[in-house]
């Protein structure tokens, strides 16, 4: 497989073991699966979250006019083809992310909670909005949620300001003490979604074996539990919950194998060398996951906080993090703006792809709702106000886009989380420091 900077045909990206996987094969299989899950009477609502690190060059980001989104700012230009599905929200804040750090920007983004300051394994945050949604939206799918990222390598040494690295690495937390690791390797993501392949009969046999192994594992853990002191018993109780959750997933997979046999899919091989190709492939996999209805809740970290990635493809050869500590240097600010615009263009690619993919009586985009943004405002001073935030998708008629909402006083980002949950049909009264839903979003 050869990855170049040229636009890559999908055929190349999803090249399998024995040759190229033709896209029509996927298209052929999808209608039969979506027909089951998303008939017009039952529009699937999906929630997604995309994270960008280190805030934005906010003047390049903020649209010039309020109300109707008639003119797009430089950073958001590439959203033009889907602007009617986009709402930009200006002047939202994350009070619980202070004291200002990179670790808390990432951790607080979806939790709106205060991260316990520790470097050890006694970390404590809050359940993130995607996981609150997954508890309800994920009941009917094989994977309650899917966590994706772009950084294959983990950094060692200190992470940020005495915060354990879990805060900086994990966007998604299923409980205050359970970060959900994200996957950056396309092939591994593919295997999580679709398994190792093989014929339906072989896959069903494999699933039965896994189920009985897990059953035995649960028994072994329970036996261990009886030998332990009370403090350790809780921990083991968590392990048992995990075993049961995986058992549930296997049952779902067995059902699906019986209901709608997948053709023998082939897997993408390596990780594309170019960032842009890799990111687009990760977005493609999200589209596939939605089409096959493997999951309805997704989080995707487009880059990690304090990322030192440079973007030669858009002529930014300096690393991102030092560029954001620019003391107002216009040249560096312009480069931050370019990075912001580049990240948005990748998201726009995804939105257009969702728009072009039929789903029930509309498109995938019509039945989804995505939040895109950062937990940091001005990265030069590490603050958490005036965050770059936008919402995209139709939410099955429950989100009206094409608008720019600006708050005179900073509004808690948790208000938006509460609203997204409401739009996805998940009822909660409060989320972290929320004050109430954002009525204007409909």
């Amino acid at each position: 497989m050869m990855i170049t900077k040229k636009a890559l045909p999908r055929r190349t990206l999803l090249r399998g073991i024995g040759g190229a996987l033709a896209l029509p094969l996927l298209d052929a299989m999808v209608p039969s699966m979506t027909a089951l899950a998303a008939t017009p009477a039952n529009p699937v609502r999906r929630l997604g979250f995309v994270y960008i690190p280190m805030g934005s060059h906010i003047t390049e980001w903020t649209p010039p006019c309020e109300g109707a989104l008639t003119a797009l700012s430089p950073a958001l230009q590439s959203l033009a083809p889907v602007a009617e599905h986009v709402t930009v929200l200006t002047n939202m804040e994350l009070k619980n992310a202070y004291p200002g750090t990179h670790a808390t920007s990432n951790a607080t983004f979806l939790s709106a909670a205060t991260a316990k300051w520790t470097e050890s394994s006694d970390y404590y945050l809050g359940t993130t909005v995607d996981q609150v949604a997954a508890k309800q939206l994920g009941r009917d799918t094989r994977l309650p949620s899917l966590e994706l990222a772009m950084d294959l390598l983990t950094t060692v040494g200190q992470c940020d300001n005495g915060y354990a690295c879990v805060y900086q690495n994990n966007l998604s937390w299923s409980s205050p003490t359970t970060p959900l690791p994200a996957e950056a390797h396309p092939r591994v993501v593919f295997e999580r979604l679709f398994g190792d392949g093989g014929t339906p009969v072989e896959r069903a046999a494999e699933l039965r074996k896994s189920a009985s192994l897990l059953d035995a594992m649960g028994e072994s853990i329970a036996r261990l539990q009886r030998k332990l002191g009370p403090g350790d018993r809780t921990k083991v109780g968590d392990y048992l919950d995990t075993v049961r959750e995986v058992e549930r997933r296997i049952q779902k997979a067995e059902q699906r194998t019986a209901d709608s046999p997948l053709p023998d899919l082939e897997r993408p091989v390596g990780v594309p060398a170019a960032y842009e190709d890799h990111a687009k492939l990760m977005f493609d996999l999200q589209v596939l996951a939605m089409q096959a209805d493997v999951t309805r809740v997704m989080t995707f970290q487009l880059a990690r906080e304090t990322s030192n990635r440079s973007y030669p493809e858009i002529n930014v050869s300096e690393p991102h993090h030092p560029l954001t500590h620019n003391g107002g240097d216009p040249e560096k600010l312009a480069k931050v703006g370019k990075i912001n615009a580049f990240h948005v263009s990748l998201f726009a690619y995804f939105l257009e792809k969702m728009k072009a993919t039929p789903d029930g009586d509309g498109s995938l985009l019509d039945h989804s709702l995505y939040l895109y943004g950062s937990g940091m405002g001005n990265p030069d001073i590490h603050d958490h106000v005036n965050l770059p935030i936008l919402v995209a998708g139709g939410a099955a008629g429950r989100h009206k886009g094409g608008r720019h909402i600006r708050y005179a006083d900073p509004a808690p980002l948790a208000n938006l989380h509460l609203t997204l949950l409401d739009r996805a049909g998940v009822r909660v009264d409060r989320f972290a420091d929320s004050q109430g839903p954002i009525q204007e979003l409909l």
Partner: protein, 761 residues
Amino acid sequence: MTIRIWVIGIVFTIGTPAAPGPLQQYCHGCHNSKLKTAGLALDADPSEDQWEKVAHKLRTRSMPPAGLPRPDEHTYDNLAGSVEDRLDRAAAAHPNPGRTDTFRRLNRSEYQNAIRDLLAIDVDVAALLPADESSHGFDNITVGDLSPMLLERYVGAARKISRLALGTPVRSPGGETMTLPPDLTQEEHFEELPLGTRGGAIMQYTFPADAKYDFQIRLARDRNEQVEGLHATHQVELLLDGERVHLFTVKPPPGGDHSEVDRHLTIRIPVTAGPHAVAVTFPKLGAPLLETEREPWYAHFNMDRHPRITPALYSITVNGPYEQKGPGNTPSRRRVLVCTPSGPGDDDACAKRIFAVLTRRAYRRPVTGADLELPMKFYREAKRDDGFEAGIEMGLRSVLVNPEFLFRVENEPAGVAPGTAYRVTGLELASRLSFFLWSSIPDDELLNAAIAGKLHDLTVLDAQVRRMLADPRSKALVTNFAEQWLYLRNLDSAKPDMRLFTDFDDNLRRAFRTETEMFIESLMRADRSILDLFRANYTFVNERLARHYGIPNVFGSRFRRVTFDGDAERGGLLRQGSILTVTSYATRTSPVIRGKWVLANILGMPPPPPPPNVPALKEKVGSAKPMSMRERLAQHRANPACAGCHAPMDPIGFAFENYDAVGRWRTMEDGLPIDASGGLPDGSKFEGVAGLQKALLKRPDLFATTFTEKLLTYGLGRGVESYDAPAVRAIVREAAANDYRFSSFVVGIVNSVPFEMRRSQ
């Protein structure tokens, strides 16, 4: 036989030592119950924890603050000594060993090594399991979690590994592709490939069966889809275990369409099951053409600036198996199948023997009949459908997902009162040892010693430690401990700016890593003093690295030791490209990061986190004359909010300024001469890295303490706390008496209270 007797007791705080005179003279002015500066009142019964901080401040000379009267060196040492003495005596009477977590999952490297030692298979663990989180600088601390995703991956890994171990017939052929980094230059010879070749790659691949396999080779292309460097006819060689399998020829296509140029680089050949080295390389042309076209630099991978001169390998794919003949005779089958059933009469007895051996090693303890029930149940079910070996494979799978394999469990003995310090069992100690020194499970010898109850015998324990250190598996101390301690793992993500550092490529990145690995391993194998990290007048280079460093007369790809005379530009750890690069930005050096690296990893004085709302460092905006990094940082330190931390950090970093962001020696920057004068927090001033090293060596105890704390953190798998300080001091004292030899730290840790004991909950 020598046996130590531990005093077991409940931990409680020590009383206030009668405040010695100098403490009153130099410290009470601020730290009294009226002012309580930094929350410390020395006249109001400070806690043990606070006394440890006092001792640390005195040892590192970071109190009293600059500008206030300070004791002389002698008084400093006496004062610190008297405080420590009390703390040590209290700790000896009532040891507090701390509490490692009850459940600790094997991390990725440990899992990989455990599979190697259990089944004789090398697996690519990065493709099987997610990366581990790092805390306290290491990835074996935060290992108590088990997310559904991780569990799914364990189940999947067990399936893949057990199939590979037995060589179960594969229903549909699979494959693996190795892709080379795009910035790997392939114009010269690589050390691990045959002489007379250039470029290419070698990969270890475990072939699942005696069968035929497809090998597919792709060449690197530029962004216009042209095969790079293809200006003449070239040959491509495929090797298996060093023997030529096939020689292909590639030619520039007549029409200029490169899409089919490497299409024919594929061949199907029979290969025996088991591990083989698959290599692809290019016979080196003796043509003078290369010489005349040689660019002034080494890096050749970028079509615009320094294009490839000859074609390069992009990927090797192995597909198969096809036409399977059988599982073959592989190391893993020999390891697992310790018996062969002669017929249906004795197959169950043989299976039992197989699982008895496997579970004992996998669970790191003696096993009973009850332990065999589960694997035997899976064995019988699968045997019924698919025969004996399928049964063994399924039983093995159940062992690989057993919590006693995946987790290290340390459970306190029944009936121990809460908060009691107790000795861990011999078996727990054996696992602590093997995971510390090998990042893997104990071998039979260690396990047998533990089962026989001999590990509590000091002589036996010492002999085991020395045996294990001498074993090649102790390389894990380099690849896991040292690489994380020194941040070498960040080298892979170091991407120096291509315009400024034109000659940086993956070859250099690899050479940096090899240099430091060899340097540290040689120190460890020869059991030298750890002070040699700063005293060494030698390092390890190959031609590529020597050219980068400006060292003459080193030729070829092989790394060798080179020695320098006097105050040289190279030698020792602090002048190695790896360290200098991971502490730099892509475009420039960072005295701040370098200073912080030394403070945190060498001196044990990590600066506190920056306060919220840090004012930004003013860049070169609107100033008439260009400012050097030193001047700009000086401006920064003028702000009192920044000075507290940057005053100790920056001057250390300045001492490295003769080395640029990729570790090259320089005397000028932006037309200005380099000023490499620096200083330490204790007030010493010096020039360059040589001066810094001398200053560090004046206080070997500081480095030895930091080294001990790092190694102890890694060895215990938990953060080192203030109550561990007495143990750390004891280890450092022992090591000092042994010229700070590497092994004296390891032995010291193994014999320490936190390593041999644990506190009940």
